[in-house]
């Protein structure tokens, strides 16, 4: 047994104090009875209350929709600049812009969309003057659909950033080989390119799912709690015991960690699989 791990002491201590300990507090709280502190699974059973179920359902729905839509859009955009024969400078511009947009989330993003698509938003007014009243139906920017539109602003740039290396990895020889055997462009995509890209595409979308599942500030600013979401519910629980059940708050936080852990694990596994072809 070597003592080489001692050099990592400060790092392990930091990890234990500011990642391990907070997580341990939540984990122990989630399996402890509120009054007696005895071990219990009641808090997890209480996750089935309609309030919590509703929050999880909304969060999962919004994350799924924006992961799939953002994944497709981001893939199309990355494919367009890499394979579509556009000037290379556009590619660099898109990459930098994607870096900005995928990190430009939270309060400012929510505000920007309010100025764009709320009832007094500039685009809403512009469209109205052109004869299209987007507020004629059920739509508002503060609804679920509105929140999804806002989340897409950071979702598809993230997709562009993570899928671009994979599209770069598609070797021109594969396309030439397929064409030499008489494949059309569509057949090449269906039989060669997409199967190779599938693990990466799937993994990236799972990462997008986690990305929007954990997002807090954007929804906080945009909806002011109008749409029950898991991160918002946890935030409310920090401010005061709004669930009237301390343990349930812990269980909810742990539920969120589990969802995130599953998505990161799936992403890592799929990413590793895809490296077989794309290096």
């Amino acid at each position: 047994m070597s003592w080489s791990w001692l050099g990592l002491g400060p790092f392990f201590l930091f990890g234990a104090m500011f990642l391990g300990l907070p997580l341990a507090f939540l984990a122990f709280g989630s399996v402890a009875d509120n009054t007696t502190g005895a071990p219990t699974v009641d808090n997890y059973a209480a996750l089935s209350t309609p309030l919590v179920v509703n929050a999880f359902r909304n969060s999962i729905e919004i994350s799924l929709v924006t992961a799939i839509a953002g994944g497709i859009l981001g893939f199309a955009l990355a494919a367009a600049v890499i394979l579509g024969g556009l000037p290379p400078i556009l590619r660099n511009a898109l990459m930098t812009f994607s870096g900005v947009a995928s990190n430009f989330a939270g309060i400012p993003l929510a505000l920007a969309f309010t100025y764009t698509l709320s009832t007094t938003g500039l685009v809403t007014i512009l469209l109205k003057n052109l004869g299209l009243d987007i507020y004629g139906g059920d739509f508002t920017i503060f609804s679920k659909l509105g929140l999804e539109l806002v989340y897409l602003y950071f979702q598809f740039p993230l997709m562009v950033l993570i899928i671009a290396p994979a599209i770069d990895g598609l070797k021109p020889e594969w396309r030439e080989a397929a064409e030499n055997m008489g494949a059309t462009g569509r057949q090449y995509w269906r039989r060669v390119a997409l199967p190779i890209l599938t693990p990466t595409l799937l993994g990236s979308m799972i990462l997008l799912f986690g990305n929007s599942f954990g997002a807090y500030a954007t929804a906080y600013q945009l909806t002011a709690g109008g749409i029950p979401l898991v991160p918002l519910a946890i935030g409310n629980q920090i401010s005061g015991d709004v669930l009237h059940n301390v343990g349930l708050g812990y269980a909810m936080a742990m539920g969120m960690v589990v969802v995130m852990a599953i998505s990161i694990t799936a992403y890592t596994w799929l990413q590793r699989r895809s490296e077989r072809w794309l290096r």
């Binding site: 990642l19 507090f25 995928s102 764009t116 462009g185 807090y216 500030a217």
Partner: protein, 294 residues
């Protein structure tokens, strides 16, 4: 059957070339033109999605009378400059601490403890698994009571904020530094330094750190971009940071938040431009600029 197999002839070098050139010359030109059209459409749509909200925000910020009043009022507000400075200072401390923590760790893992790499990488990925709002929940539960009552004082809360931000920075800081270390021969450098009588501290500060300039600066800019706009943790620790200030402003004023939003966008933009300039010529993969949503 045998006639349909000229492929055997094609194995002679000359034949192969002729097949390749014919495939290149005749085929792609028309397809690329068609591809170009949809590529342009997708690109323009995507660009519109990026830019329209920014133009609308700019438009709203200019609605204030007299012209640019939204900007002059915001910049004159002491809380604007105060919160921005606070977040910037917190960001700088975060970067310094993160470098001090990550560089020796990544160095040690590469040089002496490669068997612990999976453990270290697992820990650096944890911040992806624990969303900020859950992290701050746990931190408040753990550090609002003895023996470490961080949240009972301003200084303690700010320290806790820095520690939380250091954990947020771990995933990309570690990966950035690890990629940087891969590019230099740390074993030889270390042995050379040791044979000249350097201690560990000298090696890290005078040999390793200067060689990691690009990796560290990329990580630093990304950390700054995130820390300056962060909301959830700062708000629950009741810190006078830029994120909570903007949220408060957004609920109270008409035009000023638009101006401040654009400032915030500009700061993110500057950080990303800096990263892409730093990463130039080193391949797109060495640029790590993904931190995720908030």
């Amino acid at each position: 059957m045998s006639r349909s197999r000229p492929a055997i002839d094609a194995r002679t070098p000359g034949a192969l070339e002729s097949i390749e050139t014919s495939a290149v010359d005749v085929e792609p030109a028309p397809r690329r033109r068609r591809g170009s059209l949809w590529a342009w459409i997708v690109f323009l749509l995507g660009t519109a999605y990026f830019i329209v909200p920014l133009i609308a925000t700019l438009g709203v910020s200019l609605l204030a009378k007299p012209a640019f009043a939204a900007y002059s009022t915001s910049f004159a507000d002491a809380r604007f400059l105060g919160s921005l400075t606070y977040s910037f200072v917190i960001g700088l401390i975060t970067v310094a601490l993160s470098i001090a923590l990550v560089v020796p760790t990544a160095y040690w893992v590469r040089l002496r403890a490669p068997h612990l790499r999976p453990v270290v990488e697992f820990i650096t990925l944890l911040p992806f698994v624990i969303p900020p709002v859950v992290l701050v929940f746990g931190l408040i539960k753990a550090y609002s009571r003895p023996p470490l009552p961080f949240t009972n004082s301003d200084l303690g809360s700010s320290a806790l904020l820095v520690f939380a931000y250091v954990t947020l920075s771990l995933p990309y800081m570690y990966r950035s530094v690890d990629a940087g270390l891969r590019a230099i021969d740390i074993r030889t450098l270390t042995e050379a330094a040791q044979s000249l009588g350097s201690g560990w501290l000298t090696i890290i500060v005078r040999i390793i750190l200067p060689n990691l300039r690009v990796a560290l600066l990329s990580g630093a800019f990304l950390s700054l971009a995130i820390v300056i706009g962060e909301f959830a943790i700062a708000s629950y620790l009741a810190r006078p940071a830029f994120g909570p200030y903007l949220a408060l402003l957004g609920g109270n004023r008409a035009y000023e938040p638009a101006a401040v939003t654009l400032v915030s966008f500009g700061l993110t933009w500057l950080a990303m431009i800096a990263i892409s300039l730093l990463g130039r010529g080193r391949g797109a993969r060495s640029r790590i600029q993904i931190a995720g949503a908030r």
